[in-house]
Every structure is written in structure tokens, then in C-alpha cells.
């Protein structure tokens, strides 16, 4: 009897993690396997044997790797094995249910001169997902056997073994033409220059084009190998070419993705992508149509909730103001100097009360925003508004400070805290000052209806139109001045799940916000309140005896360029204290307001007694329509109030930057007033 020739074949088994390598390995080798470690490594090595058609196959289970890039110990082991010519063929397992991703490992194999068998696994999962893969087409395009299997099923194994036997005999490699063409397109003539400088037959199992690609990708391992195996002048040539490529890795990787697209084109049919159905609240929260109105409603509701605390503070403020006024009267009766009483009652007390009101408001806003962030809703708001906000150069979350600013700019500024990027936060703060707060409408409403009647609606519309342009310009203006962060952060995310609020965390957050704001607010508000008091105090209550009157008259020639008389100039300056205070200040300036000895006293609106009829008559006789329009614009776009300034200083941690923003708003308000005034002169 003739002895049957026994052959010994060595196979390397390769693939990304979780492609079923171990299942196939165990299925082939059964108990005939041996486990150890790779020489000098901590990585486990599994080897086994099986026999098929009188051939003994030794199979080495290589560590799971995503590529042959040698970025990890596992990848290095795999690469060295491939390089070392130890195997007669390599079996590369790819996950058919994630074909594009799996093929990247295969793309790294192009140009390696080891016969290959490609084994798509998880084909049942791919079919379940509706994927239809033309494996024959894949085989044609790859130029190597493609044997789809379900690793646990016997008939797949039998087909695999048959194709493996053929592959070790036929010795086919993956076709290199397409990807080499891509490398040439992207690296130009330099690619062929490097190939020419390399040993013609390559090094080990690596062909010259494969080595060249790795060199351009900056593979240090391959650089060392080439340096060892080449002569000095060839290496110098290669090195000088490579030195001009800092982005070779990404270019090379792009070429590989293009190769994957080319191989899979028309070979894979996937079912049309259905938008994943959202569950529960998210069905509305991130709905392309309903998500935005819902967010607006919830944020505005949140604003209402947040002012509950502020309203309580407001009531306390009114009580303390009344008590302070009574105490003031008592002090005057006891012979205390009037200026001292005025300082206490009209500057210090209102200033402190304003701080208290501000802190109360900030605590409400912080609580509402903190709750939204904690339960996970904030992410949804950012998600639905991101597209719109990005047109202003802002983050999706910026919509919340803006919405809050319609109520009070302090809320908007404090609310900017939720924006992670400091750069975006600052731009949002600067831009939110342009949003008209509730306090704006007292003066704007009065002046518009008084001077323009039914046409007041056109005044309001034009204010909003200009406000939108103002915000865009402001965003651009302040973005220029801010230092570039290492890169603009893009947020790629899966929306976090909703979860129950952590009350301890929320209240810790609120407390830290209160502490931060209170100290800044105290310093800014008190300084401004005292400064305005000093400038505007008169013992007679007649504003014409005050320093601010002198300032107003001095500035009147300049003010007139912008359409502002001395009263309107002073009102414009004082309105920066607080927009609610502006109405009382204007009444005092036009002689229709009594009860205070300084404009600082108008901070507390109830302290000014306004003669409404006299007030309107005084305005109509002293102010022309173009001047009124100019003042409306100047007032609308002015610094919101000193509490907002204080909040901004607290949020930005920079007095300097805050002053810059304040100066910007002051100047742009005047410029807009001037433009509107001169246009109005032509119309009226």
C-alpha cells in the first residue's frame, strides 16, 4: 500500500474582536489546542491543529485587531506574525453585519504577500438586519476567496475548509490596483519615488507599495525596518520625501475608506434607513417641528417659576423701602443732615435691595436651569435649537439664556452658565444684552404710543428687526476678540437618558451660584448707585441744581447729534442703572416726578410720584417725534441694567471684559439712535 503524503500547512486566524474567531478556532481544533503566551508578551497565544484531506493544518489564533497599524501590543504581534512568513495563508474574519467597519482590517492587508481567505461571519445577523450581500461580487473585486459562514454551523465549516485548501494551493493576494491608484492621486509622484527607493522585492511579506503606504502614514515600526534593510542613500531619499508629509496618516486612511466604498459598491444592499422612532417624551422633545415650541414653552414656564423667588424678594423690597422712607423721615425730623438721609434712603438702601432682588432672581433661574440639566432635558433643548443658534455663531444651549433674557437679562446672563465652552458662554452673554427685557417695555411702550399712536406697532417691529441684526453683529464682534480655543468643540453625542433629579446636587449648584453672584453684584451695584446719587443729588429736589444737570448740558451738543436733548441724555445714562428706573427718572427730568432728591432714588419706582397727565404733556412739548424715536432706540439697545452688568462680571470673571461689553452697547445704542434720528428727520 502506498503511503499517503502528509502535508503540513500553517494558518493564521485574524480578525477584529467579536467576529467569531474563537468560535471558528474551537470548532476546527476541538481539544487539539494549546494555550500559551506570545514570546516576551503578556498577550495570550492559542494554537491548534486539525486534519482535512490528509493535510494537517496548524492554526494560530492571532489577537483581535482593528488594523495592522501597530498601535497596540496586539496589533504589533499580528503584524510581526504576518511579516515573518510563518503562515501559508491568513484567514481574515469580517463581521458581515458591520461590513464597512470590518473591512478596514482587510484594507490594511492590501500589498501583503500572504495568501488570504476572507470569511464573513454573523451572516445570519446581517440577514436579520435586512442586509443583502453579494459575496460572489466581493470575491471578484477582492481577488481572493470569500467564504461566508455562521461559525457555529457545520456546513459553513466544510465549505470553508474546501476553499482554504484551494487558497493554499492557488496563493491569491488582494488586488492592489485601486488603492495604489488612490495613493498616487493623493501623494502624487512622491509615492512612486518612495517605491523606487525601496528594495524591489519588498521586505519579507511586505510589498514595496504596502511599505510605501505605511511610511507615508508615519509608521515608526516600518521606518525602522526600512532603515535597517535599505542602504544609506535610499533611506535618505525616502526620509527627505516623508519629511514634507505631516498628514500622511489621515490621507492614507481616507484612501482605505475609498477602497472599502469601491469594493462594497453595489455588492451590499441595505434596507432604506428609517429614522429611529423616539420613545416617550423624546417623541415631542426632539421632534423636528414640535421640539422648538415645546422648548420655548418649558423655558418660559421655567422663567415664571424662577421669578416666584424674585417676587417674594420684591415684596420684601417694597416693605423695606417703605420702612426706610419712614426711617428717613424720622431721621430728618431728628435733625440728621438731609444729604446723609438721602444717601442712605436713596442710594445705599435701594442698592442693597437691588442686590437682594438680583440674588433671589439668580437663585430661581439657577434652580430651574439646574433641574433641566440634571434630568437630561437641557440636552434636548440644545439639540433642537443648535441649527438655529449656529446661524448666530452660537451653541444650541444659547437659546435658553436668550429666552430668559426676555424676562430679565440677569436670568439670561446667569443662564449662560450651562454652556460648557467659555468662549461660547461669553459670546452668549454679550449677545443676550440685546434681547429686550421686561423692563424695556415701560418706557418703549409709553414713548411709542405717545408719539406715534397706532404706528407704534411699526416702531416695535423695527426694534425687533434691528435687534436680530444687532445680535448677529455682536456675536461676530465679540467672537473676534476672544482667544481661539484649541479648537472649536463640536458635540457629537447620543442624547443621554432622562433620570430623576439629584436634589442635593441641584441645591449645591444654586448655592454656589448665589455666592458667586452676590459678591460681584454688591460691588458693582453699590458703586453705580452711589456714583449716580453723587452726581444727581440736590437738596432742593430740583435736578437743575445737580452735577448731572451740568453734565447733561455739557453733553447736549454731542447728544443733539444723536437726537437727544439734555434730559434724554441724562435719562439714557441713568437708564443704564435699571430700565424700570428710567420711567421715574424721565418723570423727574421733565418736572413731572417728585418725592426723590436724586436720580438714584428712582431705582425704587414706588418712591417717585408721577403726574401722568403732566408727564405726557411735558414730553410732547419738550420732545419732537424724531427725538422720541432716537431715544427709544438708544434706550432699547443700551446697557440693560447694572444688575446685568454685575451678573456678567460674575459670569465672565472679568471686569475688564464686562466694561468692554458695556462700552460697546453704550456706543452702538447712540449710533443707532443717531441713524434713526436723521432718517426720522426726513420722514417726519
Amino acid at each position: 500500500m502506498q503511503a499517503v503524503a502528509q502535508k503540513n500547512i500553517t494558518i493564521g486566524l485574524m480578525g477584529q474582536p467579536n467576529t467569531g474567531k474563537s468560535t471558528l478556532f474551537n470548532g476546527l481544533t476541538g481539544s487539539r489546542q494549546h494555550v500559551g503566551n506570545w514570546a516576551g508578551k503578556t498577550v495570550e497565544q492559542k494554537q491548534g491543529e486539525f486534519t482535512y484531506h490528509n493535510t494537517t493544518y496548524k492554526i494560530v489564533d492571532l489577537p483581535g485587531t482593528y488594523s495592522l497599524a501597530a498601535n497596540s501590543e496586539e496589533e504589533l504581534i499580528t503584524r510581526n506574525y504576518v511579516y515573518s512568513s510563518k503562515s501559508d495563508a491568513i484567514v481574515v474574519m469580517i463581521d458581515a453585519s458591520q461590513l464597512e467597519r470590518s473591512m478596514y482590517l482587510l484594507s490594511d492587508f492590501i500589498g501583503v504577500r500572504v495568501p488570504l481567505v476572507v470569511v464573513p461571519t454573523m451572516i445570519d445577523v446581517a440577514e436579520k438586519n435586512g442586509k443583502k450581500i453579494d459575496y460572489k461580487k466581493l470575491e471578484q473585486r477582492l481577488g481572493v476567496p470569500v467564504v461566508p459562514i455562521v461559525a457555529t454551523q457545520k456546513d459553513g465549516i466544510t465549505r470553508f475548509l474546501s476553499r482554504l485548501e484551494t487558497a493554499t494551493r492557488d496563493k491569491k493576494y488582494i488586488g492592489t490596483d485601486f488603492i495604489t491608484q488612490k495613493y498616487r492621486e493623493n501623494f502624487g509622484a512622491d509615492f512612486d519615488k518612495v517605491i523606487t527607493a525601496l528594495p524591489k522585492s519588498g521586505i519579507g511579506n511586505y510589498s514595496s507599495p504596502w511599505i510605501a503606504a505605511k511610511l507615508f502614514e508615519g509608521d515608526d515600526n516600518i521606518k525602522t525596518l526600512v532603515k535597517e534593510k535599505s542602504d544609506g542613500s535610499s533611506w535618505k531619499t525616502v526620509e527627505s520625501i516623508l519629511n514634507s508629509y505631516s498628514d500622511g496618516a489621515i490621507i492614507g486612511a481616507n484612501c482605505k475608506y475609498e477602497w472599502i466604498d469601491h469594493v462594497l459598491a453595489n455588492a451590499v444592499q441595505v434596507p432604506p434607513k428609517k429614522r429611529q422612532k423616539k420613545s416617550g417624551f423624546d417623541r415631542i422633545a426632539i421632534h423636528p417641528i414640535w421640539g422648538k415650541p415645546l422648548a420655548i414653552i418649558l423655558v418660559l414656564l421655567g422663567f415664571i417659576v424662577s421669578i416666584i423667588v424674585a417676587l417674594i424678594a420684591k415684596v420684601i423690597t417694597e416693605v423695606i423701602t417703605t420702612l426706610a422712607a419712614q426711617a428717613g423721615a424720622a431721621l430728618l425730623a431728628a435733625g440728621t443732615a438731609p444729604f446723609l438721609v438721602s444717601l442712605i434712603v436713596e442710594a445705599l438702601v435701594p442698592g442693597l435691595l437691588m442686590v437682594m432682588y438680583m440674588v433671589a432672581f439668580v437663585s430661581g433661574v439657577s434652580f430651574v436651569f439646574g433641574l433641566m440639566e440634571d434630568v437630561g432635558y437641557m440636552a434636548r433643548v440644545a439639540y433642537v435649537f443648535d441649527n438655529l443658534m449656529s446661524k448666530l455663531g452660537l451653541h444650541g444651549k444659547s437659546v435658553m439664556p436668550f429666552l430668559m433674557s426676555f424676562g430679565c437679562t440677569i436670568g439670561g446672563v446667569s443662564g449662560a452658565r450651562v454652556i460648557d465652552s467659555s468662549r461660547q458662554r461669553l459670546i452668549t452673554i454679550a449677545t443676550s444684552w440685546a434681547v429686550p427685557c421686561a423692563g424695556t417695555w415701560g418706557v418703549v411702550g409709553l414713548m411709542s404710543s405717545l408719539f406715534f399712536g397706532v404706528n407704534a406697532v411699526w416702531v416695535i417691529i423695527s426694534l425687533f428687526a434691528v435687534a436680530i441684526l444687532h445680535m448677529k453683529f455682536t456675536s461676530w464682534f465679540f467672537e473676534r476678540g476672544l482667544p481661539q480655543q484649541e479648537g472649536e468643540a463640536g458635540l457629537i453625542m447620543e442624547l443621554p437618558p432622562y433620570h430623576k433629579p439629584n436634589w442635593k446636587t441641584i441645591f449645591t449648584y444654586v448655592w454656589s451660584r448665589i455666592k458667586g453672584v452676590a459678591s460681584k453684584a454688591l460691588s458693582v451695584i453699590m458703586v453705580v448707585a452711589i456714583a449716580i446719587w453723587l452726581l444727581s443729588y440736590t437738596s432742593t429736589g430740583n435736578i437743575e441744581n445737580s452735577a448731572i444737570y451740568a453734565v447733561g448740558k455739557f453733553l447736549e451738543p454731542v447728544g443733539s447729534i444723536f437726537g437727544l436733548s439734555w434730559q434724554l441724555v441724562i435719562a439714557f445714562i441713568v437708564a443704564a442703572m435699571g430700565k424700570e428706573a428710567a420711567l421715574g427718572a424721565i418723570a423727574v427730568l421733565f418736572g413731572a416726578g417728585t418725592g426723590v432728591s436724586s436720580l438714584a432714588g428712582t431705582l425704587v419706582t414706588s418712591s417717585v410720584a408721577i403726574n401722568q397727565t403732566g408727564f405726557e404733556a411735558a414730553l410732547l412739548s419738550a420732545v419732537q417725534a424724531p427725538q422720541a424715536l432716537a431715544f427709544i432706540f438708544a434706550f432699547f439697545f443700551n446697557v440693560p441694567c447694572m444688575a446685568a452688568v454685575a451678573a456678567s462680571a460674575s459670569e465672565s470673571q472679568s471686569y475688564k471684559w464686562t466694561l468692554k461689553v458695556a462700552a460697546y452697547y453704550f456706543i452702538t445704542a447712540l449710533v443707532l439712535a443717531g441713524v434713526v434720528y436723521w432718517i426720522a428727520l426726513l420722514i417726519f
Binding site: R101, I250, A379, H395, D420, E488, G490, I492, P497, N502
Partner: protein, 118 residues
Amino acid sequence: MLLNNILLEVSKGTIISYSDLAEKLNVDVGVIDAAIRQLCQMKYLYTPSGSGGSCGESCHGCSFSGSCGFRDKGAKILTITKSGNQYLKTLTDTINQNKQNISFNVKEVHPHDLHSGC
């Protein structure tokens, strides 16, 4: 060019989910994940340490550290590194150069050539 397109999307600074990005670029979600890891490995993108699991530098100083809505599963904040920005600039310059070349070439065609009998 997949990696270029991902960098361009991240550079827009917008919020986008993995699945939206995959749909936009017409690839599998798994490929997006793999590609982003690659870009991070190549140091074109930078993920602040721990984002998606705990808070890192991007949340530094935030009173919400450790407890915000981004703590579970999802949010990955990707920042383009200096190298990434330099690469993007090269890309943009090349695209603009190609556009100029195209318009230049159109102007180069002589009217006579359009009417030459063939």
C-alpha cells in the same frame, strides 16, 4: 473622503448624534465610531478625558461636574486639535484652489473653439 468629512462636521461646532452623522455621510454608525477613534488616535481630534462617562477638562469649574445630564452613556465632546485645524486649513485651501482652477479653465476656452467643425 470619510475622515475629512467627519472633521468638517466636527469643525462646524454643532450638536449631532452618531446616527445623524452616519446618515449624513451615508455610512454605518459603526464606521463613524471607528473613524472617530482613528482621528483621536491620529491626534486630529481630542476627546477630553472621561467625557461620556465622567467629566473632564471641558467641564472643569462647572458646579455640575459629575452629575449633569451628560453623565450617562452618550455625550462625547470632540475638539479639533491644532494639527486637525491645520489639516482642515490645508483642505479648505485646496478646495478653494480647485474651484479657482475650474473657473480659470472655463475662461480659457476660446469662443472659436466652441464652433470649430468636427
